[in-house]
Amino acid sequence: MTERKKTGREEGVQVDFGMGGLFKGIGNLIDLVSEMIEEGESEVSRRGEFKVKGLDQARGVYGFNVRMGLGGTPTVEHFGNVRATDEGPVVAEEREPLVDVFDEGDVILVVAELPGVQEDDVQIEVRDDILSLSTTGERKYAKELLLPSLVEPDTMEATCRNGILEVRLRKAA
């Protein structure tokens, strides 16, 4: 029995992920974070002085984005500067940016979020179907990504504005 009810709360468009496996995973993750926030506060205040190494200089960021991939499968991509190691997570100086790749027929469009970066500070290298992105300057980002097809590096056009980098590349014939 489907009840097509239009939800009254008009707060922009929402995509409902449902309760499936991946999406349950996301739910668990969010729960875990809220737990961390609550526990963190009580745990830490209970223990008084808490030793934190290195966090003065660095801030840890960890995140993921989910979108429908080019083949119609949802893809999960990670970003941030927290890396998992055998000894637990460590914070790196370089942050992996949030990147989206769009297939636009003849052209591949790569959109990266690089807040705090100027156009001059961006370096892009393309070899075969691998794009390497890095920045110099105050905020450091680095990412290597596999493009969905081979491209012609000479056709690259890149713009960086308001912290968003857009790179266009013609697909190789």
Partner: protein
């Protein structure tokens, strides 16, 4: 009991967070997130949902969203690590939902007389940023056609709204506010 000397892991500075419980929590988080990719199972979704998702993801950045969720960890006052979530995936009773409006990554720094708020708002124009202050609550939103951000944050103390200075550059918004003096009453 491993020895504390962290090995040189090649390029980049790796900082041991040394967060104890927090550390474990973050480790779990990374693990859970890594597992997510393996959990992708379209068979659990009905046709309609798949079509909906596909439509959503084909719309470019300005339109319907992709889901973003993340946490930032940094040292807070008194050495207490502070974890803050950001992104546009919200928990609802029906499961996680991707919203059009994204919560940005925000840091607040206490600089004695002044509070400094730094928000990452890539892809908006300075003129589209709206900042509102009520006592010790700062409301931040963007009214652009493209990317939409909104965040309400509790400042560590009350501030003098008239002293607000803000600047937006390369996707980063900086707001400076003088702290409110010990007001008349107290």
């Amino acid at each position: 009991m491993g020895n504390g000397d962290s090995e040189e892991k090649g390029k980049g500075i790796h900082i041991d967070l040394g967060l104890g419980e927090m550390f474990k929590g973050l480790g779990d988080l990374v693990k859970v997130a890594a597992d997510l990719a393996d959990k992708v199972d379209l068979s659990e979704l009905d046709e309609e949902k798949i079509a909906e998702l596909r439509r959503a993801s084909q719309t470019r950045v300005g339109g319907i969203p992709r889901g973003v969720y993340g946490v930032s960890v940094r040292r807070g006052t008194g050495g207490i690590p502070r974890v803050q979530p950001f992104g546009n995936i919200r928990r609802t009773e029906r499961g996680p939902v991707v919203d059009e409006v994204r919560e940005p990554l925000v840091d607040v720094f206490d600089e004695q007389d002044v509070l400094l708020v730094i928000a990452e708002l890539p892809g908006v124009e300075e003129k589209d940023v709206r900042i509102e202050i009520q006592d010790d609550v700062l409301k931040l939103s963007t009214a652009t056609k493209g990317r939409k951000y909104a965040k309400e944050l509790q400042l560590p103390c009350s501030v003098e709204e008239s002293t607000m200075e803000s600047a937006y550059k390369n996707g980063v918004l900086e707001i400076r506010l003088r702290k409110g003096g010990a007001e008349e009453g107290a």
